[in-house]
């Protein structure tokens, strides 16, 4: 059985009267890429700050690698890599010097450090930019430098807090591939992001938080099964009569049908042959139709259904 890398039990964090974390529990196994999702102000960053002992908490217990995490747990901290949402590098140091600085906070031996820095530079593909200063780097390269600074000491647990914000698709893809490679090399990853497609692409298990509580947890398929909508069928069809739309509504597992004169959208909850049944209705009446496509629910839909569609403040 896989070892538990992170264990959070009944974590409570209060800011005065406000409860930022409300009996929050979580368990992350070795080798997982664990996605932590939640709207702004849901408590993701507070969780990570508590996990790293940057914040004290009122109640609960945090264990990392089977040991209790405290602000002075330097034996645990040496195996944790953190990649923050904001790029935290020094503008006065070159790419190589920046990586060396952050690596040097964990590894004192010069030779070992040099090798780690070389590996990190190679890993993020910054070989051609080692002598560049951060101000000369593009947004994507900066993000890669930020990642290199966080992983150079070869941590066993890597926490990435929205590492792809304001990054172009090519750089984002490179970063995501890099995260998967780190995971393949043995690192356990905790990943927070607002980009659902990223989480869906790389995370093996996901927890959704809101108002300081964990409201759902599981693999992406398990999460998708938690919501009402399991399939969305879209059919291009002109001039359908009301009777046809009504017949569609009466089909098994269909819980909502929308028609605007051009597109027929059928929302289903469960069932295996929803598309065939819908097309049967049209063929039976000898009605023509254009393109037909069916979509499984996305993580975004899962997220919105679970957390609601009301706007949240941007302050985390």
């Amino acid at each position: 059985m896989e070892n538990t890398v992170v264990k959070i039990e009944n974590l409570v964090k209060r800011y005065g009267e406000l409860v930022a974390l409300d009996h929050f529990s979580l368990e992350i196994k070795e080798g997982e890429i664990f996605g932590l999702l939640g709207p702004n102000g849901s408590g993701k960053t507070t969780t990570i700050n508590c996990l790293l002992s940057l914040l004290s908490f009122d109640k609960g217990n945090i264990e990392i690698f089977g040991k209790k995490m405290t602000p002075v747990s330097y034996d645990i901290k040496k195996d944790i890599g953190i990649i923050m949402q904001n790029v935290v590098v020094s503008d006065e140091l070159t790419v190589r010097e920046n990586i060396d600085y952050f690596c040097g906070l964990y590894i004192k031996d010069k030779d070992e450090r040099r090798k780690c820095v070389d590996d990190a530079i190679k890993f993020v593909g910054l070989e051609d930019f080692v002598k560049f200063y951060p101000k000369k780097l593009s947004g994507g390269l900066l993000r890669r430098l930020n990642i290199a600074c966080g992983i150079a000491h070869k941590p066993k647990l890597i926490i990435l807090d929205e590492p792809t914000v304001a990054v172009d698709p090519q750089s984002r893809n490179r970063i995501l591939e890099g995260i998967q490679e780190l995971n393949r090399n043995g690192a356990t990853i905790i990943y927070t992001s607002h980009y659902m497609e990223e989480v869906e692409q790389i995370c093996t298990r996901i927890a959704i938080m809101d108002k300081g509580r964990k409201i759902a947890e599981g693999t992406k398929d398990e999460l998708k099964r938690m919501i009402k909508n399991t399939e969305t069928i879209t059919i291009e069809a002109l001039g359908l009569e009301d009777g046809v739309v009504a017949e569609m509504r009466s089909l098994p597992h269909v819980y909502e049908v929308r028609y605007d004169g051009k597109l027929l959208i059928i929302l289903c909850s469960g069932g295996k042959h929803n598309l065939i049944r819908a097309l049967d209705v049209l063929q039976k009446r000898e009605l023509g139709f254009g393109r037909v496509y069916t979509e499984l629910p996305t993580l975004n839909e899962v997220f919105l259904e679970i957390t609601g569609k009301a706007l949240r403040d941007k302050e985390e």
Partner: protein, 393 residues
């Protein structure tokens, strides 16, 4: 020593503008200090005077002779344009014409229109010569009234007016080890210290204490106390090196190693360096932007220098300005320098009080920066839940 090394690298990148301050200081202060008064004895001023004698009597010749004893007599063509040109180019300071009838008028005790003059309006030479002539004529009249012959009266008046007392500039005991030029150098040093330290130290400390940077470092294996100690060590090395470098410049300016009371000036500078460091820490505790730091450098550097007598001697400042300046450490720094230079009678106990006041400023500023940091930390902790509450509403 990762943080210490980073401190030095960041400092290296930010030191350029501070180096300009030091280079300009060396380029300006040393020649300025050298040009400062180094006279230890009084010497009478001698002017260039042209005398046209239209009277041609013994009395007028005696006057010309009297003037020649005190000032340099120059010859010039008696032509208005030539005279005006000579005055304009300052080849002569004063042109005196002894009018015809001068001797007779003196005998009849008539002092009207004795002379015609050309001179620069309101110049100190004009005042000096006018006073000299008045004194001389009054003396001649006094001797004549006393019964002396006119020629004797002129001779006696000349002797009386030309009598000089020996004048020596008084300097306090021990101040011979601290010349006026060294005093000027040490005065300017306070401006350089405050400007360079704020300008170089604040950006480094602000960068390394940036919230995200501290957070990121706190996630690592380095202990917060070790981080602070390394920052402190970096600051101390920089401040110490700067102070030593400026002392080397001072030794060069002094023309040799300090001796006697000049060591108090070195101690004074050391305490002032700590004050400047404390000012920098206080500024950093408000987390200002780079532009604000630059602005504060100018305001604090120039403001305190002008108010406290760095550029202008304290004796020339108004009592109101000096009363306000007492609340600034630069005032006490300059007081020490002035005492050492002999502008104030040297008193060891007074000097100790001045130095203690400076040390008090350093302690107070350090305490203030600690208090401000604590208040900022507490208010930030209060602000966070407020923001979160608003976010949830």
């Amino acid at each position: 020593m990762q943080v210490f090394k980073l401190f030095m690298k960041v400092l290296k990148k930010n030191i350029f503008t501070s180096m300009i301050y030091i280079i300009v200081f060396i380029a300006i202060s040393i020649p300025m200090a050298k040009s400062a008064s180094t006279e230890k004895t009084f010497k009478d001023t001698s002017l260039k005077i042209v005398v046209f004698d239209e009277d041609g009597t013994d009395a007028s010749r005696a006057l010309a002779g009297f003037i020649g004893k005190k000032h340099k007599l120059k010859t010039l063509e008696n032509d208005k344009d030539t005279i005006m040109q000579a005055l304009y180019f300052q080849s002569v300071d004063y042109v005196l014409t002894i009018n015809e009838g001068y001797g007779e008028k003196l005998l009849s005790d008539d002092t009207s229109a004795l002379f015609s003059t050309y001179h620069m309006h309101d110049s100190y030479a004009t005042v000096m010569v006018s006073q000299l002539l008045d004194t001389y004529v009054s003396a001649v009249r006094a001797y004549s009234a006393g019964g002396a012959e006119l020629t004797d009266a002129c001779e006696m008046a000349s002797d009386a007016v030309l009598q000089q007392a020996e004048v020596t500039i008084a300097r306090s005991k021990g101040s011979e080890n601290f010349s006026e030029s060294t005093a000027a150098h040490f005065r300017y040093l306070s401006y350089i210290l405050v400007s360079v330290i704020i300008n170089a130290l604040c950006p480094v400390l602000l960068k390394l204490n940036k919230k995200e940077f501290r957070f990121r470092t706190n996630c690592s294996c380095i202990k917060p106390t070790s981080y602070t100690v390394q920052l402190f060590t970096g600051s101390a090395v920089f401040i110490g090196a700067l102070w030593l470098a400026l002392m080397v410049v001072s030794v060069v300016q002094n023309g040799g190693m300090f001796s006697g009371i000049a060591w108090y000036a070195v101690l004074n500078t050391f305490i002032y360096t700590i004050i400047c460091t404390a000012i920098s820490l206080l500024i950093c505790s408000f987390d200002p932007s780079d532009n604000v730091v630059n602005l504060l450098t100018q305001i604090i550097g120039l403001g305190s220098s002008f108010l406290c007598g760095v550029f202008i001697p304290q004796s020339m400042l108004g009592s109101g300005v000096l009363a306000a300046a007492k609340f600034l450490p630069a005032y006490w720094y300059v007081k020490v320098v002035e005492m050492l230079s002999g502008a104030e009678v040297f008193d060891g106990s007074k000097l100790a009080v001045y130095l203690l006041i400076e040390a008090g400023f350093a302690a107070a500023l350090l305490m203030m920066s600690l208090v401000v940091n604590r208040i900022r930390y507490t208010s930030a902790a209060i602000k966070l839940p407020t923001l979160r509450k608003e976010a949830q509403q």
